[in-house]
């Protein structure tokens, strides 16, 4: 099976800009989250996957990590960890969920929120420059082979950044496999690969595993 339009793999360069906003406790965190550019929310939620070490027990976004490790407020950390940037629909929606979560927590706290005894939270904004990797695919086999070879930033660009860029509930891979190759079941399986699985390399491995199953199914 081949698609009329090839899938063009794009990798991305990233540049981390340090913003002036900082927080020392949950109240300041709440205030800054409400005002920073939406790109900063993306940077601290979805994009934190880009360099995340393989650490299964780590919370999936920077806000939860900081509240857990520096402020030592485990209840709030766990609730912030449950804000899922990949299913929220948009980054503004993620911002709203973060604000609602922290506001509710502060309301029920009764006392002044604890301040960090260690690192303050520093807000970043990520600039992303997409660059063609030189890999493209017209068939599922070509797609799998290219996916195994491309720079890992292509995984980030097509599975993580794509959801934010397009506002779709799934990444570019699933879109192309479903629309371009006309394989909706396989597209669904790719779309359901959990971005919280670990590092981008692990996400790559999971995609390759799903594709290998599909290709062996086609062959048999």
């Amino acid at each position: 099976m081949s698609a009329t339009q090839p899938f063009v793999f794009l990798g991305c360069l990233e540049l981390n800009e340090l913003l002036p906003e900082e927080a020392h406790d949950a109240r300041e965190l709440l205030d800054r989250i409400a005002h920073v550019p939406v790109e900063s929310i993306f940077c601290h939620t979805s994009a934190s996957l880009l360099h995340r070490p393989v650490l299964a027990e780590a919370y999936p976004n920077d806000f939860a990590l900081w509240v857990g490790s520096e402020v030592r407020d485990v209840r709030l950390a766990e609730r912030l960890a449950a804000v899922d940037a990949f299913t929220a629909g948009s980054m503004e929606r993620v911002r709203e969920e973060l604000i609602a979560t922290i506001s509710d927590h502060l309301q029920h706290l009764g006392t002044a929120p604890p301040r960090t005894q260690g690192k303050r939270f520093r807000f970043f904004q990520m600039h992303i420059v997409p660059v063609p990797t030189g890999h493209q695919a017209r068939t599922l086999v070509e797609f799998r082979d290219a996916l195994a070879e491309v720079d890992v930033s292509a995984l980030f660009f097509h599975t993580i950044e794509a959801r934010y860029r397009s506002g779709r509930g799934r990444g570019d891979f699933a879109e192309w496999v479903g629309g371009g190759l006309g394989l909706p079941d396989l597209a669904d399986r790719l779309a359901h690969i959990d971005p919280h699985a670990g590092s981008l390399e692990r996400i790559r491995d999971r995609h390759l595993s799903v594709l290998a199953d599909a290709i062996s199914g086609e062959d048999s």
């Binding site: 340090l18 650490l55 890992v152």
Partner: protein, 400 residues
């Protein structure tokens, strides 16, 4: 394998994460013809110089026309420049008006002499800072600060801040090193070159040769700290941690560092403390000790970095690249290079360091597992190939 400046980007294919080299080549195609100039006050010594020595030729290979210019100062300029560097890093200095004037004049004089016509000009540290006062309208100017400005001498920083704000952007090694500025501030971590003399693969026979020369026996596990013999690197604290460990494990401690600058060092105290124990070795390194450090780090069982105050301390990544677990303090850039409890441990006290060393020595499989995780962490985040990618991102972003 090609060595030194003869190395090509393709040589890094064997060590970089998969896909990285091809991707860098693609980025190079996109930025082909852009002109990039680095300016520093010296072409010799220090991590900055090591990185530029490797990055500049590779950027040219990629099609980005990259030059490296050096400022020239008269008579005591090096001394003046060093005083500024120390003051910015938080060590109180006497900074006089004539010193500030010298810095300004040197910048302006060099601006007339140097070839600074480029799409992006990156000025490293304080020596060439004032070049920006003579900038033309073309090109984007970046100040690359390698210092930790979090405790910079306030009056000096107030004066220099006005100059820094004439740049289009500033780049720091860590967010915690950055000072407030009205221009964009970017973060670029330092990196290590996996093919340099310090980090290249070295077989056991060659390691043995160098260790014999340094008179380090290989009969028991080695704990190693590499760093200056200065109080803020706490070599005496490391010896005390070793003594606590020694009650339970038969180990050797090696403290290796460059010859101390005159005055204020603790080498004498360290040598005195070591003189009573044949299992403590104090190695005053020869000039350009890259090969010796490579051998020492490869022979080590556990790497220690226990400074009380530190800069980025890229030695952490250097040891992790050689598959060693690191026990480090939370000073400077140390915790940012580690994945705590995965590639090593952070500690705050002598007792904490001793406990973690004992924990590792009692669980040898943990040493192997943490070492392997550390090497992979460095492969993804602290190799010079990532540094190249960051520079290319800066060029692409600032010249878009």
């Amino acid at each position: 394998m090609a060595q030194g400046s003869l190395l090509k980007l393709d040589d890094y294919r064997q060590v970089a994460p998969r896909g990285t080299i091809d991707f860098l080549m693609r980025i190079g195609e996109r930025l082909r013809g852009r002109r990039f100039v680095h300016v520093s006050a010296s072409r010799y010594g220090g991590p900055l110089v090591e990185v530029l020595n490797r990055v500049v030729p590779i950027l040219n290979d990629l099609g980005v026309e990259t030059n490296w210019e050096i400022t020239i100062g008269i008579a005591d300029f090096d001394q003046v420049s060093r005083a500024f560097g120390k003051a910015l890093a938080g060590t109180e200095q006497v900074i006089t008006e004539p010193m500030l004037a010298r810095l300004r004049e040197t910048g302006v004089d060099n601006a007339r002499r140097l070839q600074l016509d480029a799409d992006v000009v990156m000025v490293h540290d304080v020596g060439p800072l004032h070049l920006v006062e003579e900038r033309g309208r073309a090109g984007r100017w970046i100040w690359r600060c390698h210092h930790d400005l979090s405790s910079a001498q306030p009056q000096l920083w107030t004066t220099l801040r006005a100059v820094v704000q004439r740049y289009d952007a500033a780049v720091f090694s860590l967010a915690r090193f950055a000072a407030p500025l009205s221009i964009p501030r970017f973060i670029v971590y330092p990196s290590i070159d996996p093919l340099s003399e310090r980090n290249r693969e070295m077989n056991r026979a060659e390691q043995a040769l160098h260790l014999d020369r340094l008179r380090i026996p290989r009969d028991k596990p080695i704990l190693l700290q590499v760093g200056p013999f200065e109080r803020q690197h706490d070599p005496l604290g490391v010896i005390n941690a070793y003594r606590l460990v020694k009650k339970h494990h038969d180990v050797r401690l090696v403290l290796a560092g460059p010859p101390p600058a005159p005055g204020g060092d603790v080498l004498g105290d360290v040598q005195e403390a070591a003189s009573h124990d044949p299992d403590v070795a104090v190695v005053v390194l020869p000039p350009d000790p890259q090969t010796e450090l490579n051998a020492l780090e490869r022979a080590a069982t556990i790497a220690i970095q226990k400074p009380l105050k530190a800069d980025f301390t890229i030695e952490v990544a250097t040891a992790m690249w050689k598959g060693k677990p690191v026990i480090g303090t939370i000073a400077g850039g140390i915790p940012f290079q580690m994945v705590v409890n995965v590639t090593g441990y952070t500690v705050e006290t002598v007792e904490g360091a001793a406990f973690r060393i004992r924990q590792l020595l009692s669980n040898p499989e943990l040493i192997g597992r943490m070492g392997a995780a550390g090497r992979e962490h460095v492969r993804r985040n602290f190799l010079v190939t990532r540094h190249l990618s960051d520079y290319l991102a800066l060029i692409a972003h600032l010249t878009r």
